[in-house]
């Protein structure tokens, strides 16, 4: 249960298993918050101002350790001095989160691992609102639409769900995610964890000038090993009817955002419901076609068959000079399996050109398994055209031009 009286502290700690007791942090700290005994180096939560001066000088990374705690119960120096290893993150019940919820941070860390850690947003991205609604204080949205996107005969049930926020502020940008809180309790009698979904609509709403947004949700009927299992949140969402109320938290995401400057190009690679942010960005650009802002859109989109591609119909209607679409279908009878990486290799000249273009921003979203294939295909495309992907990707990361979200 939430307790509005609790104040959350993001407590700065030192990992005693990694620390080599070199004294650099203690020497560096401008406010003398760090001290040591013969066993451990410790940070005094009453003194540390979070200036982060100690972070980069630490040779080991041990200094870059944090735990969210109830401020009144922060780990004392005596406790820290006795540690052999850092304690696990305890769940902190809060009325108002000062930080992203721990499970949201964990999901995000896994999802963005493929881009090699945190990267900045594009320089011309709009400033995002984040974390307006927390688990203790969720927003209430009303379902205003729920449509099946995949063919009736398709194996996957992928749905386009529209949520309306009425008069409640819930501003989002393309590429951001929101969290859904499924009702009820899990097998252990605890509330279900937050599930994250990418927003599939552009910033001004699924229906412009209405306070709404859309999600792309696949009904989960089996786990990663193919065993039958009903996904709690996805089944809940897919079964929603118009008028139902949904508890929503967020929004989240400060990096996987689209550029806004004229002439910016997008190179998008997705599979399945990974198309949600691509749809949002594409739709944003489509609505602005008349402004003739320049820049190109190139999309690689993988699915089992055309019938299982969410948004297949609307995509096919887009003008060819607006977006360069490359489908990769892996289960078409009588045809060899094709994956997004195969299509990237076929288009290597254009891909290599775009990767090098300082105005082009790359987005990858879909199943975790696609990461390596796409990375290899980019590497090959670069090699064929005399470029070094290893070096290029560092530039892309640094410049906020390479964004990966996989699950």
């Amino acid at each position: 249960m939430s307790d509005p009286a609790i104040e959350v502290l993001r407590q700065h700690l030192i990992d005693p298993e990694i620390c080599i007791r070199c004294n650099t942090c203690e020497e560096t700290c401008p406010v003398k918050a760090i001290s040591h005994d013969s066993r451990n180096y410790v940070v005094d939560p009453a003194i540390c101002k979070g200036c982060n001066d100690c972070i980069s000088p630490c040779p080991t990374g041990a200094i870059d350790s944090w735990r969210q705690v109830d401020k009144a119960k922060a780990y004392t120096l005596i406790e820290q001095l006795g540690w052999d290893s850092l304690p696990a993150q305890e769940e902190v019940a809060t009325g108002e989160d000062v930080e992203l919820p721990a499970d949201v941070m964990a999901i995000t860390a896994t999802a963005t691992a493929g881009q090699g850690g945190a990267v900045p947003p594009p320089w011309s991205a709009a400033h995002p609102y984040v974390n307006l609604y927390s688990v203790g204080n969720p927003a209430l949205a009303t379902v205003s639409g729920n449509f099946r996107l995949t063919d009736d005969g398709a194996s996957a049930d992928i749905r386009h769900i529209v949520l309306d926020f009425g008069s409640l502020a819930f501003p989002v940008l393309e590429g951001q995610t929101i969290g859904v809180l499924p009702p009820g309790l899990d097998a252990n009698g605890k509330p279900h964890h937050v599930r994250l979904y990418s927003v599939a609509s552009p910033r001004e709403g699924e229906r412009p000038r209405y306070n709404n947004l859309s999600l792309t949700v696949k009904r989960v009927t089996e786990d990663h090993d193919g065993k039958p299992v009903a996904g709690v949140a996805s089944n809940y969402l897919c079964d929603l009817r118009k008028g139902d109320e949904v508890k929503v938290v967020g929004p989240y995401g400060t990096s996987f955002l689209m550029p806004n400057h004229p002439g910016a190009s997008l190179l998008m690679v997705c599979t399945g419901t990974g198309s949600a942010p691509m749809r949002a960005m594409t739709e944003r650009r489509r609505r602005r076609i008349a402004l003739k802002e320049g820049g190109s859109l190139m999309l690689f989109f993988g699915a089992r068959s055309a019938g299982e591609l969410p948004y297949f119909g609307p995509l096919m209607k887009l003008p060819k000079d607006f977006i360069d679409i490359n489908f990769a279908l892996s289960r078409v009878p009588g045809q060899p399996k094709r994956y997004v990486q195969d299509r990237i290799r076929e288009r290597s000249a254009d891909v290599a050109r775009l990767l090098e273009d300082a105005n082009c921003f790359v987005y990858i979203c879909g199943l975790k398994g696609m990461e390596k294939g796409v990375d290899d295909a980019f590497r090959d495309a670069c090699r064929q055209h005399g470029k070094d992907w290893g070096a290029l990707v560092e530039t892309l990361r640094r410049e906020g031009r390479y964004h990966v979200e996989t699950y």
Binding site: I18, S56, D84
Partner: protein
């Protein structure tokens, strides 16, 4: 040709406006680069290495990470910012304002201290120059190169002092630093441990753990110096020295981790079996530890030393954490226990504390080194293995001072020459041990892959993933 030194040599000593210093460096810098290409890491000149470069002294500026070709590394000159009212904090001049120029009467002693410290920096680069050919991973290769370029920077730091404060003598000494060679019979490096070979990566990790830690203690003592530019130079070098100890501590720790994994997996502690599995058995690790610990003990100098007393009394070199010690900071009438051999036995005697300063620093060092050995033991303990590593007695296998006259075992017992000969292969790495470890040294240079005898690290460098391309070979 003019070089924009402010650009190529990041500095906070106003190099741009100091013509004398510029002229000295213009002469020395090309010779330094020649030395680096001759004696720096073998065959590495064209690699792109993900290195940390100090570009200023504030916490944000001195850890700047990017790919660099090592000959293009920006070896900078940095002193920690000057404290306005800093005093000489010990010795006969205690309480006087710290010196901003070299006091004439201490000139040769100061120069000697700086040259001795400076000489170790290029020496270790020379000792380690072939290791890149047998790196166990790209991560380790990068760490080796980081150590190498920072040793190079530390040489720069000492040469800066020689050039800026010691005139012609200083310039000649700076050149001699580039002329001596580690292990050279005719023109060796000054200190013994810096003429030993670093033949394999276990030796490298042990060296960075034990021998670079001596560097830390020497720098800490010099950082207390009454000669302010030396103190400030050494203070900044210490932050970099921490990386070297990190490489050593985690390097040895990862070797131990891998060995323990194999011991648990195959339920054995038989060195012969473990060697067949391609890991380094714990007794061999203990023998390497004994060797590097004892060689480093000698670096602190003679147990009773009048030079040490002079350096202290004249305010040139303090004790470890001098200003945190609660005494008169002049050591009047104080005594300190030192070891000696009397009637064939090791005994503790009292010496004037002023003459026992080397021993005091050695003891401070031993405490620090042993704490890290205990952290290695935690890794072993976690695997449910009962063996523990331990530091040998500080009198073990000494080559200088009164203890060099006797043979002393790792427990601190004086033994006969025959006993020593019969047991030395249990105490120090034997030729067979070294040959076995050498046989494991094969180059692993793909991102994310590690040699079989070492575990991957817990974290990458600068928050990069462990399988990051830390070195690109072009």
């Amino acid at each position: 040709m003019t070089i924009d030194y402010a650009e190529t040599i990041p500095n906070n000593v106003d190099l741009a406006s100091n013509k004398t210093l510029q002229r000295a460096l213009e002469h020395w810098q090309p010779e330094y680069l020649d030395w680096w290409s001759d004696m720096g890491p073998d065959g590495s000149q064209n690699f792109d290495v993900y290195l940390r470069t100090a570009i200023s002294v504030d916490p944000k500026g001195w850890a700047h990470f990017d790919y660099v070709k090592m000959p293009d590394y920006r070896w900078g000159i940095f002193l920690t910012p000057r404290e306005a009212e800093r005093k000489v904090n010990f010795g006969a001049h205690k309480g006087e304002p710290a010196w901003q120029e070299v006091p004439g009467e201490y000139r040769s002693n100061l120069r000697r201290l700086i040259v001795t410290q400076g000489d170790t920096e290029p020496a270790s680069v020379e000792q380690q120059r072939h290791l890149g050919l047998t790196c166990p991973s790209l991560y380790d290769l990068r760490n080796l190169f980081q150590v190498n370029v920072e040793e190079g920077r530390h040489l720069w730091a000492m040469v800066y002092l020689l050039h800026a404060y010691f005139g012609r003598d200083g310039r000649e000494e700076a050149e001699a630093l580039l002329e001596r060679r580690s292990g050279d019979a005719d023109n060796p490096r000054i200190l013994g441990a810096f003429n030993e070979k670093t033949p394999d990566w276990l030796a490298f990790f042990m060296f960075t753990y034990f021998t670079d830690r001596d560097g830390k203690y020497q720098l800490c003592s010099l950082a207390e110096s009454g000669f302010d530019p030396l103190a400030r130079t050494c203070r900044f070098m210490l932050t970099e020295e921490a990386h070297h100890m990190f490489v050593g501590e985690t390097g040895v720790g990862r070797v131990i981790q891998r060995t323990c994994e194999a011991m648990v997996q195959h339920k054995t502690d038989d060195p012969a079996v473990l060697r067949k599995l391609g890991v380094i058995d714990l007794p061999t690790i203990q023998r390497y530890l004994n060797f590097h610990f004892s060689v480093t003990m000698d670096l602190f100098g003679a147990d009773v030393s009048s030079n040490a007393a002079t350096f202290y009394s004249t305010g040139l070199k303090g004790r470890f954490e001098e200003t945190k010690i609660d005494d008169d900071h002049q050591l009047k009438g104080a005594a300190y226990p030192v070891l000696d051999i009397q009637n064939g036995r090791l005994v503790v005697t009292e010496a004037p504390a002023l003459n026992a300063l080397n021993e005091k620093l050695r003891d401070d060092y031993v405490k620090d080194a042993c704490a890290g050995i205990e952290r290695w033991n935690k890794i072993i303990e976690k695997h449910g293995i009962s063996l523990r590593l331990q530091a040998p007695h500080k009198a073990f296998h000494r080559q200088i001072g009164p203890l060099a006259a006797a043979k002393i075992d790792p427990q601190g017992n004086v033994v006969s020459a025959a006993e020593w000969a019969a047991n030395v292969d249990r105490w120090l790495p034997s030729a067979t041990d070294r040959a076995y470890v050498a046989s494991l040294m094969g180059r692993v240079a793909e991102p994310g892959r590690f040699a079989n005898w070492i575990a991957p690290p817990a974290r990458g460098i600068n928050n990069q993933p462990v399988d990051f391309a830390y070195v690109r070979f072009n």
